[in-house]
């Protein structure tokens, strides 16, 4: 037996190629009908066998195994029908209709339908189920209109057929309709991941089969169909596709990964385009119909269009309501998160206030001089408490930004004041690291929330100081660039690799992960700075030359023209006498 997928695929492809070349070239001499019937048998057999193999690959999943076994059984029925047909054609040289083959052909439909309905699908909410039913109904009515127009209607008015022959002729398209409904039921819900690609192929196979049945039915009616007709090509392709589906089933190892179906958000949109395609096809066909057709009066045409329209409208309404519901739930969860953050912030700050307060008093010697070692310990505790407070503040800020709830209080401000205040905040830690801060600021007015912009500049400066060598210089510049004030903070540190220039603005991202511990940063400074600048309508980016240094720049829209008559001054902030590191606030540990 051929069990390896690649070999099976090659064999299948080779056979389909042989069949197609025969259809086109008739290179096998002899009765066209018999050869056509004979050539269908291998592909039937292949479809049945691969379905059986697939069932064995799913040995650990009860439901998937059952699905494949039922499919194999359905294909076996089809094969039996074809074998009987061959016996008629080749053995008895006649092709009666209906014949003993037809019960087997017909058995294919319910078996395949049962198989499709055994596909495990997600348990869904009533709304989703209703949507699925509506979609399915739309598809079946659309498909039904086509089947009725081409096959059922003409069959019903066709005279001279026995009742049995008529019943059998009508059973095929009706079976197709049920299959269509079964497919809709499976496709419109969320099936197991492991069955996704086989299911796509099975869908293609069933659609090919329906097309073949419609052409076959109308060919039978007009007496133009004979075995070996080109319509048979569609059947060959149908069963080859079934065989492909069987081959594409991957081995399933546990029940967990296959039988359990999750229903992730957004799954409802899966295949939800199907009803629309169905409506479009049905309308296209129906609108092409000549008027006054005896078995297909205009009234029913209009009726079908109306019913389809209503179904689609109702579906749309339900989907809309579902969307609103989801949005409301989302807003509620946002609100709860906001409230949680606010409370968490308060609850964290209250004990920290006591800790920071007690330590601060001890550290300052307000309660008397501490022994040298105790002083060191208290200094460490103070520094780390401050770091914890900064982290909490940063996290709250970043969450507020993510929720778009960072409130700004923009007023007209001179950038020189903003830079001056920022330098004041960072001066102590720069002094401790023996880093010189230089500023070169043009007199420009911006419309900004002073506290927040100072926070952003402080974060940039803090970052620059952290990554600079002892004795180096960090330069702050503000200059006019079009309608913006362009701020830049340049250091002479180790620089940022080109591929990290963006990721330094992501939360908790530092170029080197050990930096978080060594440099004592929260990993949130730059993302917060960028968030603040962006909320002001500006932009922030980084430029760097590894080994030479980095420059972080941001733009802020100007409030008005530059101040007239102001001096463009360069201010030097020379380091004052270094203080012991333990005394610093917001310093480097």
């Amino acid at each position: 037996m051929i069990r390896r997928p690649r070999t099976s695929l090659l064999a299948l492809g080779a056979f389909v190629a042989i069949y197609l070349s025969w259809q086109l070239l008739h290179w096998i001499p002899g009765s066209r009908q018999s050869i056509g019937d004979l050539l269908i048998l291998p592909v039937d057999g292949a479809a049945m066998t691969t379905a059986w193999w697939a069932s064995r690959r799913c040995s650990d999943s009860q439901r998937l195994r059952l699905f494949w076994r039922l499919l194999a059984l359905a294909l076996a029925a089809e094969l039996t029908g074809d074998v009987i047909q061959v016996l008629y054609e080749v053995g008895f040289r006649r092709s009666p209709y209906p014949s003993l083959a037809d019960p087997f052909y017909l058995a294919f439909y319910p078996l395949l339908l049962i198989a499709l309905l055994r596909v495990p699908v997600a348990v869904v909410s009533p709304t989703k189920l209703l949507k699925t039913i509506l979609d399915g109904t739309t598809i079946v009515i659309g498909g039904g209109a086509i089947v009725w127009y081409f096959v059922l209607g003409p069959t019903a008015v066709e005279g001279g057929q026995s009742t049995l022959a008529m019943a059998v002729s009508m059973a095929f398209p009706v079976g197709d309709l049920f299959l269509l409904a079964g497919l809709a039921a499976v496709l419109l819900r969320h099936g197991p991941q492991t069955l996704a690609s086989p299911l796509r192929l099975i869908t293609a196979a069933v659609l090919l089969g329906i097309l073949a049945d419609v052409l076959y039915g109308s060919g039978q009616l007009q007496g133009t169909y004979t075995s070996g007709d080109w319509i048979d090509t569609l059947y060959v392709l149908e069963f080859a596709t079934f065989a492909l589906a069987g081959i594409s089933q991957r081995p399933v190892s546990t029940e967990q990964s296959s039988g359990e179906v999750s229903d992730p958000a957004g799954s409802s949109s899966r295949a939800s385009w199907l009803p629309y395609v169905s409506v479009a096809i049905a309308l296209g066909v129906l609108l092409g119909v000549e008027r006054g057709d005896p078995f297909f009066p205009n009234v029913s045409l209009v009726l079908i269009v109306i019913v389809l329209g209503v179904l689609v409208a109702v579906r749309q309404y339900i989907a809309q309501r579902e969307l609103l519901h989801t949005q409301a739930a989302l807003r509620e969860s946002e609100r709860v998160k906001d409230e949680f953050l606010s409370i968490a912030g308060h609850e964290l700050r209250t004990p920290l206030t006591s800790i920071r307060g007690s330590l601060g008093l001890l550290d300052a010697g307000v309660l008397g001089k501490l022994p040298k070692e105790a002083e060191n310990m208290v200094a460490i505790a103070v520094l780390n408490t401050d770091r914890l407070v900064r982290l909490i503040n940063d996290i709250l800020d970043i969450e507020r930004m993510a929720a778009g709830r960072l409130s700004l209080d923009p007023v007209k401000l001179d950038v020189r004041d903003l830079v001056g205040q920022s330098i004041q905040v960072v001066q102590a830690s720069a002094d401790a690291a023996q880093i010189e801060l230089q500023s070169d600021v043009e007199p420009l007015m911006v419309l900004a929330d002073g506290d927040r912009i100072v926070q952003a500049v402080v974060n940039l400066l803090g970052n620059a100081v952290k990554f600079s060598e002892q004795g180096s210089v960090v330069k702050v510049k503000v200059s006019l660039a079009g309608q913006n004030a362009l701020f830049s903070v340049a250091d002479t540190g180790r620089g940022i690799p080109a591929d990290r220039l963006e990721s330094i603005f992501e939360r908790f991202r530092q170029v080197d992960t050990t930096d978080a511990r060594e440099k004592g940063g929260t990993g949130l400074g730059l993302p917060i700075a960028r968030g603040i600048v962006e909320q002001h309508g500006g932009r922030m980016w980084a430029e760097s030359e590894p080994g030479v240094g980095s420059t972080l720049r941001f733009s802020l829209p100007l409030a008005a023209r530059p101040l007239a008559g102001s001096e463009h001054g360069v201010v030097q902030h020379t380091p004052s006498a270094p203080r012991p590191p333990g005394r610093l606030e917001g310093g480097v540990l």
Binding site: H346, R349, T353, S354, R356, A364
Partner: protein
């Protein structure tokens, strides 16, 4: 005579620390209240004060409600009220100022500068009046 301050906070530890820093470093005479209602009693019995330091988030009557009650009973007519809050959003600050606060001090406060911050706010308010 040292200036008198009413300190209202539901957290006993924070009361202790604030009291210590304000008394030792700022020279205030601090009267403590553990809740809004206690603050009202203190204000009625031992007011008026030179300043009130009021926590925002307190169980029962919160800071802003306490302020409104104090104003309603006309207990703090010329007294600067300063809020202590863990919420430092601009909107929150503006709201507190709009209901009559002289200023807002963020928690966690630095015990070494708390007294100075408070002094600054009180002087600004008195200068305005």
């Amino acid at each position: 005579m040292s200036p008198r301050l009413l300190l209202v906070d539901d957290d006993q530890d924070i009361r202790t620390i604030a009291c210590m820093t304000l008394e030792r470093l700022g020279g205030w005479e601090v009267i403590r209240a553990a809740s809004g209602s206690e603050a009202l009693v203190c204000a009625r019995e031992s007011g008026p004060f030179d300043a009130v330091l009021l926590d925002v988030m307190m169980p029962g009557m919160d800071g802003p409600s306490t302020l409104l009650e104090l104003q309603a009973e006309d207990l703090v007519a010329n007294t600067p009220i300063v809020f202590l809050t863990a919420k430092v959003q601009v909107a929150e600050r503006e709201h507190l100022i709009s209901i009559g606060a002289a200023g807002v001090i963020a928690k966690p406060f630095d015990p070494l500068t708390l007294s100075n911050e408070l002094q600054q706010i009180v002087q600004n308010r008195l200068a305005q009046d």
